[in-house]
C-alpha cells in the first residue's frame, strides 16, 4: 500500500513538471508578452523596453523557467507580473470559492441524480421511468450558459427570490450550483439506473431475496453498493473538472472562482499566476484520481487487491 502510494506520488511529480513546462512554453508562444499587455497601446518603444526589464522579461527563456522552478521547490510560486501580489495569495483567494461551488454541485448531483436514477430503475419500463429519463436527456443536451441565463431571468428578475450575481451568502450559491449540476444530475441518474438494472438479475441479488430479506434492504445494501461504482468514477473525474474552475458559469454569475483568474492571467500573459493556478488544478486532479481508486477499493474489495 505504501509502496503503491509512493509510486503514485513520484508519477504525480513528473506530471506536474511536465504541465508547468508546457504551460510556460505555450504562453511564451502566444503573441505579445506581459509587458505589452500591461503598458497598453499608447506606450513608446522605450517604455515597453523599460517595462520588460522591470518585469524581468528580458531574461532568457530557460533561465526564467529555471528560476521559477527553483522558487517552487522552495515553496514560493512567485508574484503576479501585473499586481505584484504573491501568486499563493491570489490563488488561495479564489480556491475557496471554487471549492464551495464544486462541492455544492457534487452533493446536488449525487443526491438528486441517485434519487432520480433509483426511482427510474424501480419503475423500469413504466411511464415514470420514461418521463424521468426524457428529462435527463434534456438536462444533458441544454447548454449550461443558456440554462444559467434562464435561471437568472426566472428566479432573480421575475420572481426576485435569489440574487442575480455575486457571492458571500448561501443564496448566491444556488443558481450557479444548479446550472452546473443539471447536466451532471442527468448523467448520474442514467448511470445509476443502468447500474441498478445491471445487478437486478445477478445471482447474489436473487440469493439475497430468497434469504427473505426485505426488498428495501436488498436495494439499499446489496444493489446500491454496486450501482454506485460507475457513479463514483464519473463524479470523481468531474470534480477535478469543477475544481479547475468553471469559467463560463463564473463569468455569468460573477462567481469569484479560479476559472476567471486563469483566463484573465492568459489575457495579461501573467505566467506566474497562470502556472500557479494550473499546478494547483493538476494537483487536485491527481489527488482526486487517487481518492477515486481508493474509494473503489473500499466499495469493491475484489478490485482492491488488483489495484493496490
Amino acid at each position: 500500500m505504501i509502496r503503491y502510494l509512493l509510486q503514485r506520488l513520484a508519477g504525480g511529480i513528473m506530471v506536474l513538471v511536465a504541465i508547468s513546462l508546457v504551460t510556460f512554453l505555450l504562453l511564451e508562444q502566444a503573441p505579445g508578452d506581459a509587458a505589452e499587455a500591461l503598458v497598453g497601446e499608447s506606450a513608446s518603444a522605450a517604455q515597453l523596453a523599460a517595462a520588460r526589464h522591470q518585469m524581468g522579461l528580458d531574461v532568457p527563456l530557460l533561465r526564467r523557467y529555471a528560476d521559477f522552478i527553483a522558487g517552487i521547490v522552495q515553496g514560493d510560486l512567485g508574484r503576479s507580473l501585473v499586481s505584484g501580489r504573491p501568486v499563493t495569495t491570489l490563488v488561495a483567494e479564489r480556491f475557496g470559492a471554487t471549492l464551495e461551488l464544486a462541492l455544492a454541485t457534487m452533493v446536488l448531483s449525487l443526491v438528486a441524480g441517485s434519487a432520480i436514477g433509483l426511482l427510474a430503475a424501480a419503475h423500469q419500463g413504466g411511464y415514470l421511468d420514461l418521463l424521468l429519463m426524457s428529462i435527463a436527456t434534456l438536462g444533458i443536451s441544454l447548454p449550461t450558459f443558456w440554462v444559467a441565463l434562464l435561471l437568472i431571468l426566472t428566479f432573480s428578475l421575475r420572481l426576485g427570490w435569489l440574487p442575480v450575481a455575486g457571492a458571500g451568502s448561501p443564496a448566491h450559491l444556488v443558481l450557479p450550483a444548479v446550472s452546473l449540476a443539471l447536466p451532471t444530475i442527468s448523467v448520474v441518474a442514467r448511470l445509476m439506473r443502468a447500474g441498478m438494472l445491471d445487478v437486478k438479475g445477478a445471482e447474489y441479488v436473487r440469493t439475497a431475496h430468497s434469504k427473505g430479506l426485505s426488498p428495501r434492504h436488498v436495494w439499499q445494501v446489496h444493489m446500491l453498493r454496486n450501482g454506485l461504482n460507475p457513479v463514483i468514477t464519473m463524479l470523481g473525474l468531474h470534480l477535478g473538472h469543477l475544481l479547475g474552475g468553471t469559467f463560463i458559469v463564473e463569468t455569468i454569475f460573477g462567481w469569484p472562482g479560479l476559472g476567471r483568474l486563469v483566463v484573465q492571467s492568459v489575457f495579461d500573459r501573467d505566467y506566474p499566476v497562470l502556472i500557479g493556478a494550473v499546478l494547483l488544478i493538476a494537483v487536485m486532479y491527481q489527488i482526486l484520481n487517487l481518492a477515486v481508486d481508493l474509494i473503489h477499493a473500499i466499495l469493491d474489495p475484489r478490485l482492491g487487491k488488483e489495484a493496490l
Binding site: 503598458v39 501585473v82 499586481s83 501580489r85 479564489r94 458571500g168
Partner: protein, 528 residues
C-alpha cells in the same frame, strides 16, 4: 466559516432593508448605498502602479488630483487652488488648497504632493502616464502650500497628465507603512475611503465624513450624502443588465446597442449618454505595397459607407466620424468635413485605375501580377467583428476581397506593431489632441504608430502643437495637421462611439464627469 457567512448575510439584509444601517459616522449624510457593476476587477488600487480596466472607474472616488478636468476639456482648480506658468513655459507653480487631509489624518501639503508625483515618476513604464511624467525634470515643495514643477520643455499636455486618475495624490504615511500592499489598502484624500475588498466579488467604499474639497462641477463640495459606494464585479454584460433591472445594481456602463434599446423601455432606469474622447478608425499599413500608394488608400477610403456601417453594425448607436480627432477633443473642427474622403464607389474605382490597376471580368483588380486584396486585422471584442464583416462586404462591392483576422487585443497590437496586416480596425481613448502624435507621429513608428505613416510636415505641426501653451494657436496647428492627414489617408475615421451609463431612477443627482465617470458627490437615494 458558517458564523462568518451568516454575518455577511445579516449585513447584506441590513444594508438592503434599512439603507444607512451601516455606519455613516459623522456629518449629515442621509445614507444609502449605491452599487455599480464592474466588468473587470482591478488588480490593484494603487494609482501609480499598473493600470488595468476597472481601476480608473474606482480611483477618482478614493484619490483627488492636483487639477480637475471638466467635461468641456478645460482644467479647473482641485487640490491646487491656482497656478502660474513662467514666461518660457518651463516652470509651473501650484498654490495648494489648505486644510486638506488624507483618510489616515496625514496633512495633504506640498511635501505630500511632491512625494506622490515623484512616486508616480519613479513607477516608470508601469504607469500609463510615463510619457507625460517624463517631461517633468524637477518636483519641489517650496513651502507648505506651494509646489513647483520644472519641465524639460513647455508642455501643453501637463494638465491632462495631472488630471488623470493615475496621477492621484497618495498618503505618504500609508505608502511607507503598507509598502507593497498599498494597492490593496489605498489611502487618498477623496470623497470615499476603502472599506472592504472581497476579491472577485466586490469593493466597498464608505463616505469620507471630513471631505470638503470637491471639484467645482459638483454642487456638494463637502462629504457625499450617501453612506457607501459598492462596486460589484460582474464580468458578463447580460448579467449586468439583468442585475440592473432586478435592482441588484444601480449603475452600469452599457456599450451594446441592443441593451440600450431594452433599458430605454424600463421606467426604473435612466439611460445617460457618456461623453468619451474616443474614435474608431480603419487604418492602412502605409509601408506595405500596394497600400503605400496614397491613391490606393484614398480609393479604399471612398469605398467605406459609414452610414450603413453605423446602422448595421451598431444599430445606430454611434456617430459617423470624418476627422481623425474625436469631436470632444480640442483641435476638432466641423469645417474638416469638406476634406472627408466620403462614400463614393465610382471615385474609388477611378482612383484604383489611376494607380495602375485594371479590373478583371470577375470584378477584382490587378496591377502587374498582383491582385488587390487585404488582410483586415482587429481585436475579437464586440463590435469589431461586426464592423469587420460590414467593411468586408463594402470592399467586395468594389471588387476588393478582404480576409478578416480577429485576435485578442494584446496579440492584435503585437501583430500591428510588426506590420503583419494590411488594414486594421482600432479604437483610441485619449483625452488630448496629442493622440495624433502618439498614433501618427513618425517618431513612434513600429511602436504606437502602427500604420507606419510618416509625413514631415505633419510631424512638425504635431511636435510644435505639443509645446504650445496658447490654446488657440495650438488648435489651429491640429486643424492644419488633420487636413494633411485626411489627404494622406493613413486612417479612414469610421465613427465616434456613443457609450451609455444606465442609472436606476432611485439614484438622484448623478453627475456625469469626464471619461464616462459618474460623480457621486451630489447623489441621494430613495427607497428601492
Amino acid at each position: 466559516m458558517r458564523v462568518l457567512r451568516n454575518l455577511v448575510l445579516l449585513v447584506l439584509i441590513l444594508s438592503v432593508a434599512g439603507c444607512g444601517a451601516v455606519s455613516s459616522s459623522g456629518g449629515t449624510g442621509n445614507g444609502g448605498v449605491v452599487t455599480r457593476a464592474l466588468t473587470s476587477e482591478p488588480a490593484t488600487l494603487d494609482p501609480h502602479g499598473a493600470a488595468g480596466s476597472g481601476q480608473n472607474v474606482i480611483l477618482p472616488y478614493i484619490f483627488d488630483t492636483l487639477v480637475y478636468r471638466d467635461t468641456d476639456n478645460t482644467y479647473k482648480p482641485f487640490l491646487a487652488e491656482s497656478w502660474t506658468v513662467s514666461e518660457d513655459g518651463k516652470t509651473v507653480t501650484f498654490k495648494l488648497r489648505g486644510g486638506v487631509t488624507f483618510h489616515d489624518g496625514t496633512a495633504l501639503d506640498a511635501e505630500a504632493v511632491a512625494f506622490s508625483l515623484q512616486r508616480l515618476k519613479d513607477a516608470g513604464a508601469k504607469s500609463p502616464l510615463a510619457s507625460g511624467m517624463a517631461i517633468i525634470a524637477g518636483i519641489e515643495a517650496v513651502d507648505r502650500q506651494t509646489l513647483r514643477l520644472t519641465l524639460t520643455s513647455p508642455s501643453a499636455t501637463l494638465f491632462s497628465t495631472l488630471s488623470m486618475p493615475y496621477a492621484g495624490i497618495v498618503s505618504p504615511t500609508a505608502v511607507k507603512q503598507e509598502g507593497d500592499s498599498f494597492g490593496q489598502k489605498p489611502v487618498g484624500s477623496g470623497p470615499f475611503k476603502l472599506h472592504e475588498w472581497k476579491p472577485g466579488v466586490s469593493i466597498t467604499l464608505v463616505r469620507n465624513a471630513d471631505y470638503k474639497w470637491g471639484p467645482p462641477s459638483v454642487k456638494n463640495q463637502a462629504a457625499p450624502h450617501i453612506a457607501q459606494a459598492v462596486f460589484k464585479v460582474i464580468p458578463d454584460a447580460t448579467t449586468q443588465l439583468t442585475a440592473l433591472q432586478a435592482g441588484d445594481v444601480d449603475i452600469a456602463f452599457v456599450n451594446q446597442p441592443e441593451q440600450v434599446q431594452t433599458l430605454k423601455q424600463d421606467k426604473n432606469i435612466q439611460v445617460i449618454e457618456s461623453p468619451l474622447n474616443s474614435l474608431i478608425y480603419l487604418g492602412f499599413n502605409c509601408q506595405k505595397p500596394p497600400f503605400d500608394d496614397v491613391r490606393v488608400r484614398q480609393a479604399l477610403s471612398h469605398a467605406v459607407n459609414k452610414a450603413e456601417l453605423v446602422q448595421t453594425a451598431l444599430g445606430g448607436v454611434g456617430k459617423e466620424a470624418f476627422a481623425p480627432l474625436s469631436p470632444t477633443l480640442p483641435g476638432f473642427d466641423p469645417s474638416l468635413k469638406s476634406f472627408e474622403l466620403s462614400y463614393d464607389p465610382a471615385r474609388a474605382k477611378s482612383l484604383l485605375a489611376e494607380a495602375g490597376f485594371t479590373q478583371a471580368a470577375d470584378g477584382t483588380w490587378t496591377r502587374g501580377k498582383d491582385r488587390l486584396s487585404g488582410l483586415l486585422l482587429t481585436s475579437s471584442r464586440a463590435p469589431n467583428d461586426a464592423i469587420a464583416t460590414i467593411l468586408q462586404s463594402q470592399f467586395k462591392a468594389i471588387g476588393v476581397p478582404l480576409e478578416i483576422r480577429l485576435l485578442d487585443s494584446t496579440a492584435a497590437m503585437n501583430a500591428m506593431s510588426k506590420g503583419q496586416y494590411d488594414l486594421m480596425v482600432w479604437r483610441y481613448d485619449w483625452n488630448d489632441a496629442d493622440v495624433l502624435n502618439i498614433y501618427l507621429g513618425s517618431a513612434n513608428i513600429g511602436r504606437t504608430n502602427r500604420v507606419f505613416y510618416s509625413n514631415k510636415a505633419v510631424d512638425d505641426l504635431l511636435n510644435t502643437a505639443g509645446r504650445t501653451m496658447d490654446d488657440k494657436a495650438r488648435q489651429q496647428m491640429y486643424v492644419d495637421a488633420q487636413k494633411q492627414i485626411m489627404a494622406d489617408a493613413p486612417w479612414q475615421p469610421l465613427y465616434v462611439p456613443i457609450d451609455y451609463t444606465a442609472v436606476r431612477t432611485r439614484i438622484q443627482h448623478a453627475v456625469m464627469g469626464p471619461m464616462g465617470r459618474v460623480l457621486l458627490n451630489d447623489v441621494t437615494v430613495t427607497g428601492k
